[in-house]
């Protein structure tokens, strides 16, 4: 039963196909456009990484948005100073986010439970507040760090003019403000989505490997009973720190991809609500599962983009088949939950999921599948129990 790597491969291939076909899959939902697809891939990656910490070890960090911000800022600086190629930006972002994660994790992991959560929250909020105000020379504050044309006037600061030394050394010509590229291929639009999608698939593969590794099992053991683990000769803290750094690097990667597909970096990405969002994504999809967080990320980003746009006009058009009085009533009732009321829907969705489906959407699917599989013998049940972490 441990040699079920065939199942893992099937899951991986299925996931890859689903991601690459996302434009077709999202078409019926009106979600087939580059920005949403990019966001799905990016936040999916973020949630996968977050799940390595939260899903496997049970340590709830409220500070992962800080690494998103770090990743974004580093990428933009790489574009401004070195080259418009996305590869150095991504690499630097991941490394520096990893360094930040190491520092914050090293300190925060001295505590557990809610104390750990509050420590990570405190660090992230400090990053956010400072980036918004005092660190404006590095972050460009409220306006956000942006790309500029090459510096022609030596009086201009680096916030207002770029140098791109590598590109200059290679003799690359620029007209006005360039956009990031991947060796000549642009990284916005559908190309950008596929760039992110490939990284998402690689990220998924790595997360799958981690989950199925000895290391992954130790992380699960930490969540299950950290105390017992200590008496088993395992030092939990280095494992936790490694998981924290890995998930921080995923967040940095996600932040970097945000900057690669859309070259601007703002401080509000680091706010605690952004950290809360990834927690919601993970829970909504299914904590501890591999696919769940991606699914959760997709649903939340879709709601943010599409549900928020269903204004009253659209709703009453939709109910136009009803008699006039009923149409008005239905439309005004429904519009409580969509358009500007989409937060309400989000809140309700959350409560419903947590109350009735603590395992998230993935548990829902399992239950539905379970309904049809009931007559099967015990063997499949125990198999699905072992296969669980791999989903």
């Amino acid at each position: 039963m441990f040699s079920q790597s065939r199942n893992d491969w099937l899951l991986f291939i299925g996931f890859s196909i689903a991601v690459l076909c996302a434009p077709i899959l999202m078409e019926p939902f009106g979600g087939n456009y580059p920005d949403l697809l990019q966001k799905l891939a990016i936040f999916g990656l973020f949630a996968i990484g977050f799940n390595i910490l939260f899903g496997l070890t049970g340590y709830l960090s409220f500070g992962h948005a800080a690494f998103i911000g770090v990743g974004s800022y580093v990428s933009i600086w790489s574009f401004k100073l070195l080259t418009m190629n996305a590869i150095p930006a991504v690499l630097f972002s991941v490394i520096i986010a990893g360094v930040f994660a190491f520092l914050i994790g090293y300190v925060s992991l001295r505590r557990s439970g809610i104390y750990f959560s509050i420590l990570t929250l405190a660090f992230a909020q400090m990053c956010y507040s400072l980036a918004y105000s005092v660190l404006t020379p590095i972050t460009n504050g409220e306006t956000g760090l942006q790309l500029r044309a090459l510096r022609t006037n030596p009086d201009l600061g680096l916030l207002d003019a770029d140098i791109r030394v590598l590109d200059q050394a290679l003799g690359i010509q620029e007209t006005s403000v360039p956009t990031p590229n991947f060796f000549g291929l642009q990284t916005s639009g559908y190309e950008g989505f596929y760039f992110c999608a490939v990284i998402l698939i690689v990220g998924f593969f790595i997360a799958q490997k981690i989950t199925n590794s000895n290391f992954g099992m130790m992380l699960k053991a930490i969540k299950s009973n950290q105390n017992r683990l200590n008496y088993t000769g395992i030092h939990a803290r280095p494992y936790l720190l490694a998981a924290f750094v890995i998930s921080g690097m995923y967040a940095g990667l996600a932040g970097s991809l945000m900057a690669v597909t859309d070259p601007i970096a703002g401080a509000e990405r680091m706010q605690w609500t952004a950290s809360g969002e990834v927690v919601l994504m993970t829970i909504l999809g299914g904590v501890g599962t591999l696919v769940g967080p991606v699914l959760g990320a997709g649903i939340i980003k879709y709601a943010e983009q599409k549900v928020s746009s269903w204004n009253e006009g659209i709703i009453s058009d939709f109910f136009s088949f009803l008699p006039a009085g009923l149409q008005d009533f239905t439309a005004s009732f429904v519009s409580l939950f969509v358009g500007e009321g989409w937060h309400l829907t989000l809140g309700l969705l959350f409560m419903v999921i947590v109350i009735f489906l603590p395992g998230g959407m993935m548990e829902g699917f399992r239950r539905i599948v379970g309904l049809f599989k009931r007559p099967n013998d015990n063997d499949t049940v125990s198999n699905s129990a072992t296969a669980q972490p791999a989903e």
């Binding site: 590794s213 000895n214 290391f215 099992m217 130790m218 299950s224 105390n227 395992i234």
Partner: protein, 271 residues
């Protein structure tokens, strides 16, 4: 309690012998909680390869003593040495890595892991040390360790439940799993905290048989037990703890016939 307190003042030192070849040495350990003396002046030497039982009435400090040994509690005074290494002040995982494993009184398994995984964790810990960072080493590919784990689980009678989640097991099965988790590490010293408590009679006997087998393998064991049947089946030597002090120490025969023990602990209880 008052009786044991008075009799404990004349803690018999003469029983302490074999310090030279002892592997675990508890030296003048003192521990109190909020003014209550849980352990006072405890000296104890466990010889290499022996099965040493610690008995005593409830609240005598047996579990506290075990907790001091594995680093869960820090003694106020005194020290614990294992094979020349001072354990006092070390972290639990460091103590385990020195070869001291513990089987808990209330089963402390990993409820969200499968039975096999529960045993694999200590097995990997034994092989790889307290931390290895190789996140890509496939857990499923650990065939050699897995065979060993399956064998160990078979020896405690859990071979049929390898893929069940530990949380779904009965209490008795969890205790057996606990035992397997201790055994798989082949520790040099195994600390057993009431390994048969709550077991049915025939399970208890099976456990005794199992522990006897291991005894033949030369593993040193310290066992805390209430069940005198178990104690006298397994122990080479016995220490009696009462009121936080060791009041008697010796072979099962000596303990059986020790009037102080009878008075302080065995009392009217049938041996």
């Amino acid at each position: 309690m008052a009786v044991t307190e008075t009799s404990a003042t004349e803690a018999p030192r003469e029983f302490q012998s074999g310090v030279a070849n002892s592997v675990l040495h508890i030296n003048d350990v003192h521990k109190s909680f909020a003014g209550l003396h849980a352990l006072s002046d405890v000296d104890l030497a466990v010889r290499e390869g022996e099965t040493h039982a610690i008995i005593g009435p409830n609240g005598a400090g047996k579990s506290t003593l075990l907790n001091v040994c594995v680093g869960r509690l820090k003694p106020d005074r005194g020290s614990v040495t294992f094979d020349g290494e001072i354990l006092t002040g070390k972290e639990p995982h460091e103590i385990n890595q020195l070869g001291v494993a513990r089987v808990f009184q209330t089963p402390e398994v990993f409820p969200d892991l499968t039975v096999l995984e529960n045993v694999m964790v200590p097995a990997l810990s034994k092989r790889d040390g307290h931390f290895t960072l190789n996140p890509f080493k496939r857990f499923g590919a650990e065939t050699r360790l897995r065979d060993e784990a399956e064998a160990t689980l078979k020896s405690v009678g859990l071979q049929g439940q390898l893929t069940a989640l530990a949380s779904s097991m009965s209490r008795g099965d969890k205790r057996r799993l606990e035992l397997a988790m201790g055994l798989i590490q082949h520790p040099r010293l195994l600390l057993l905290d009431e390994p048969t408590a709550g077991m049915a009679r025939h399970d208890t006997n099976a456990t005794i048989d199992l522990l006897k087998q291991i005894k033949e393998g030369g593993m040193t064991k310290v066992i805390i037990e209430h069940d005198m049947h178990v104690v006298f089946s397994l122990a080479d030597r016995i220490s009696v703890l009462a009121g936080g002090r060791i009041i008697a120490q010796g072979t099962p025969e000596e303990i059986k016939n020790n009037p102080k023990v009878k008075e302080a602990y065995l009392g009217d209880e049938e041996v």
